[in-house]
Each structure stands twice: as structure tokens, then as C-alpha cells.
């Protein structure tokens, strides 16, 4: 068939699709990722607004209702713990802390990782070599031990938890960002910026970092669950947030001590923690598949 002007006109004008629209379309087809995103959204909403609707406060102890099993009549839908506190509301408050740690500590690691990786990648040469050697050296260290030490020695300051967890998680990010920067800086638009005399750090900020976002987004969704895990690990050891405030890790720890006669104290926080980690992992996997041009 010959291509006449009419046949060309008959094909509907295809709007150009960017990498992002393309990825979003593919992501939306991934049912696991979409479900995970929905569950996560509901969970986040619950954790934020839920406590306002609960008749109990997270530190209110109901002395004549100790370790009661979940029931609707008393209003303790998840039951109560060993000193009569409502587990439903505590799980929500714990979720606030866990999700907050996940987001804030990830931002900390993001800022350090991007700044470090982009600098090393952009300047290259000896600077790159030295900076990456430092990353290599830090890689071999058992950082978990240092975080535990920090927590034990300097008290359980929530701010310290954020910073400490973020500070140990930037190494992977720095490596990934550096690799991307290396290939980016050969592009024409960087050359143009250099020719115009834009100072190096402005080039990094204005031209390199915005172009790194694709890789970074995938990595962020995979970092958040790791960070939540580290925080709950610390809380489980009794080193995280301080009573009566709580987090999912701390609740799991309390529940594990009561599980023989009151399994619900363990069950609900454990399910929330696992479900959140599940969702983040699914979204991360889905995003990676969607953004990966290799398998279309």
C-alpha cells in the first residue's frame, strides 16, 4: 500500500509521550503496584486522621480493662495491652512515627547521597576517585552497630534517630547518583551551560540533579521500607522512641512479651508493619519495571 497524504491524515495525530507518561501507563497496568499504592494511601490517611476519631488517647490507661481481647462493645477494636491502653490508637500513633521516620530519614539520606554523588560524578578525576574511595571504605562497616551505640549512649532522641538512620543509608544513593551523573555530564546541554560560564555547583543544582530524578524516585521507594525496618529494629531492642510514645517496632516488642495469653497485642502492629513494608516494596518493584526501558 502506498502512503498517500490521505492515509497519513487518517492516522490520529499521536501526541508525543514522555518517559514519565509512558512509565505511568505501564505502572497503572501493574495491579500489584496499584493495589499497594491504594492500601498505602488508606493506611497513611488512617494514621494521620484516625487518632482524632478514637475515644481513647495513646497513653490513657484503662485500669479495669487490662489485656481484653478485641471487641466492638467496649470500643477497643484491637483490644488493650498489659496496662489497659487501647491498641488500636497506639497502632495508629506508632504508624505516625514509623512512617515519619521512613520519610524524614529517607530525605536525609537523599540529600546527602545526591549532593555527594553528583559532586563526585561531575568533577570526576582525582576528586571522584578520593570521594568514591571513602564510600568504599564506609561500605565495609557494620553501621547497625554504630546506630545502636548512638541510641544507647546519647539517649533516645527522635531527631537523632532520623539523622542516624539517614546518615547510614546514603552510600547506595551516592553510588547510583554518581554513575548517572557521569553519563549526564557528557550531554550537550551541560556543555552549553559550561560554555555560558555557569558555575559548577549551579550546573549540578539546575541541570544535573533534576535529570537524576527518575533513578532517584525508584530508589526512594526502596529506601523508605529499609529505613522503617531499621527504626523498628531499634525500637524492638528498646532503643527507639520513648514510652509512652510508640512505634510499630516498639509495639511488636511489647506484643511479643504478651503473645502467649494475648496474641492480639502482637498481631495487629505486626500486620500493619509488614503490610506497609509490603506495599513499599511492591511500589518500588513496579516503578523499577515501569521505568526500565529494557523490558517493554
Amino acid at each position: 500500500m502506498s502512503v498517500t497524504p490521505e492515509t497519513v491524515a487518517a492516522i490520529p495525530a499521536d501526541k508525543g509521550r514522555s518517559l514519565w507518561t509512558d512509565a505511568m501507563i505501564r505502572l497503572r497496568r501493574n495491579r500489584a503496584a496499584v493495589t499497594a499504592a491504594a492500601v498505602l494511601a488508606i493506611m497513611t490517611l488512617m494514621v494521620i486522621v484516625g487518632p482524632w476519631f478514637s475515644p481513647y488517647d495513646y497513653d490513657y490507661t484503662h485500669w479495669d480493662m487490662i489485656l481484653i481481647s478485641p471487641d466492638l462493645a467496649s470500643g477497643h477494636v484491637f483490644g488493650t495491652d498489659s496496662i489497659g491502653r487501647d491498641i488500636f490508637v497506639r497502632t495508629l500513633y506508632g504508624g505516625r512515627i514509623s512512617l515519619l521516620v521512613g520519610v524524614v530519614a529517607t530525605i536525609v539520606s537523599l540529600v546527602i547521597g545526591i549532593a555527594y554523588g553528583a559532586t563526585a560524578g561531575y568533577f570526576g578525576g582525582r576528586i571522584d576517585h578520593i570521594m568514591m574511595r571513602i564510600v568504599d571504605i564506609l561500605y565495609g562497616m557494620p553501621f547497625m552497630f554504630f546506630v545502636i551505640l548512638l541510641m544507647v549512649l546519647f539517649g533516645r532522641n527522635i531527631l537523632l534517630i532520623f539523622v542516624a538512620i539517614g546518615a547510614i543509608n546514603w552510600l547506595d544513593m551516592a553510588r547510583i547518583v554518581r554513575g548517572q551523573t557521569l553519563s549526564l555530564k557528557r550531554k550537550e546541554f551541560i556543555e552549553a551551560a559550561e560554555a555560558l560560564g555557569v558555575p559548577p555547583f549551579r550546573i549540578i543544582r539546575r541541570h544535573i540533579v533534576p535529570n537524576l530524578l527518575g533513578v532517584v524516585v525508584v530508589y526512594v521507594t526502596l529506601t523508605i521500607p529499609q529505613v522503617i525496618l531499621v527504626e523498628s529494629f531499634l525500637s524492638f531492642l528498646g532503643l527507639g522512641v520513648q514510652e509512652p510514645m510508640t512505634s510499630w517496632g516498639a509495639l511488636v516488642n511489647e506484643g511479643a512479651q504478651e503473645m502467649e495469653n494475648a496474641p492480639w497485642t502482637l498481631f495487629f502492629p505486626a500486620v500493619c508493619l509488614a503490610a506497609t513494608l509490603f506495599c513499599f516494596n511492591f511500589i518500588g518493584d513496579g516503578l523499577r519495571d515501569a521505568l526500565d526501558p529494557k523490558d517493554r
Binding site: 562497616m141 557494620p142 552497630f145 545502636i148 551505640l149 544507647v152 508493619l273 513494608l277 516494596n281 511492591f282
Partner: protein
Amino acid sequence: MLNYAFKRFLGAWPTLLILIALAFFMIRAAPGGPFDSERHLPPEIEANLRAAYHLDEPLIQQFGRYLLGLAQGDFGPSFQYKDYTVTELIMTGFPVSLRLGGLAMLLAVVVGVSAGSLAALRQNSRTDHAVMSVSMTGISIPNFVMAPLLILLFAVYLGWLPAGGLGNGSAANLVLPVISLALPQIAYISRLTRGSMIEVLRSNFIRTARAKGLPERVVILRHALKPALLPVVSYLGPATAGIITGSVVIEQIFGVPGLGRYFVQGALNRDYTLVMGVVVFFGVLIVVFNLIVDLVYALLDPRVKY
């Protein structure tokens, strides 16, 4: 090869030194000291105690003394467990941790690699989906959540296995701790194996092997498995670190008298030398293991240039 090994060996020293220095200065910067107690000690006695443990010297001198001791394999005396040296404490805890961690590692590699390969060979089949869902569960459920759940199920409800302790060292006592320690690693390793196996199976040399008429078993075991295992080998370093950190919680949950417990107790008691000892010991273990893994990787992969 020898050259490369030597270079990597030299490269491990700065890591170790930074590790030791960080732990040393961090713990001494902490508020409180090893001899703080409810009862106030007379100042002369406290001064004598501090002098006996060289705590009155300038920090740098203490650090030098510590390094010198380390070079001779001496971790110093424990502050809390009187009459014990840290070396002795480590030597009582380590065999227990080693058995636990070693078994968990073995289980993780064997089960992870077989499950991952199976999933890759039947890509997109039901087996594949099942393996991948189980693996996702393993990654998403932290071991300190898994451990109490396993205890609840197998020890409390079913009563098949003991809930904790080492008993008289029987195998039954090890089953639950080893499984909870290994599960997350099994999950990671099976995902890794599946991914790399799928990629290897698509490559030209596998097609050639099949075209030669080799039986499928030989194609998989002789040709595909080795290159597919490379990412798993390089993951063994982080896996060791994961198992060691995991053992801190698992030992606490199951009441196993290993090294992880000493670490947490030591840090709470400001037992400087004990905490330092455990950090340095584990740190050296991880650094050395990473070194070995890198060397093995270089041996296995002919493309790596050194």
C-alpha cells in the same frame, strides 16, 4: 591475582582503623562511665579504679594503648564482668553465634539458590509466582516479627519445638532461631538468583549448549549455574552483615547466649572494652569476609580484571 589480593588486603586496613577509631571515641564521648552506680564511690577509690583501667590518661594515649593491645590480640579486661577478659567473653559467646549464623547462612544459600533457579526455569509459571510471593513476604516481614510468630505457632500452639534457650545444645533448640535468621536472606538470595538466571538463560552460550544437544540438566548445572551465581556471591558480604546484625535480636528473642547479647548489655552498662571488643570483632569478621568474597568473585568471573 596475587597482586590484586595484596592490594585488596592493604585496602582493608583503613576501613578497620576507621571502624576502631569511631567506636572508641564514640563510646568515650557518651555521658556516664563504667563505674557509675547507685552507690557513690569515695573519690579516692574512683580515682584508683580509673587509674587501674588507664581511664585517667589522655584519650589519645588510651587509644594508642588499646591499639597496641589489639595488635597483640588483647581486647582488655571487661569492666562489668570482673575477673573476665573481653577475649574470654568473646570466646564463650562466639561459638554459639557462629553455629547459629553459619547454619542460617548455609540454609539461606541452599534454599535461596534452589528456589530462585526453579522460579527462573519456569518463568511466569505458578511455581515462579509462588516462589516470588513467598520471597516478597520474606523481605517484608522483619525477622523480629517472624520470630515471635514462629514461636507462637510452633512452640506455644503446636508444642513441637522449644520456645527458647539452648537446652542441652540439641538440634531442636536451633531450628526456630536459625529459620528466623535465614528467612530474609533466603528471600533476597532467591530473588537475586532468579533475576540473574533468567538473564543467563537468554544468552548465546546457553543457546549454543542447547544446540549441541546437551541434556537440559547439563546445560543448567554445567553452563548456566556458575555465571548465574555471581551476583549471589557478591551478595554474601552484605548477607553476612545482615545475619550478624539480625543475630542481635534473634539471640535476645530466643534467649541464646551469643555475642549479640553481650553487645547490647555491654553498651547499656558502659562496659567500654566489651562493646569495643564485640564491634571490633564483628567488624573485622565482616571486613575479612567481604575481602574473601571479592577474591572468590574475581576467581569465578573471568571477566574481572585485577
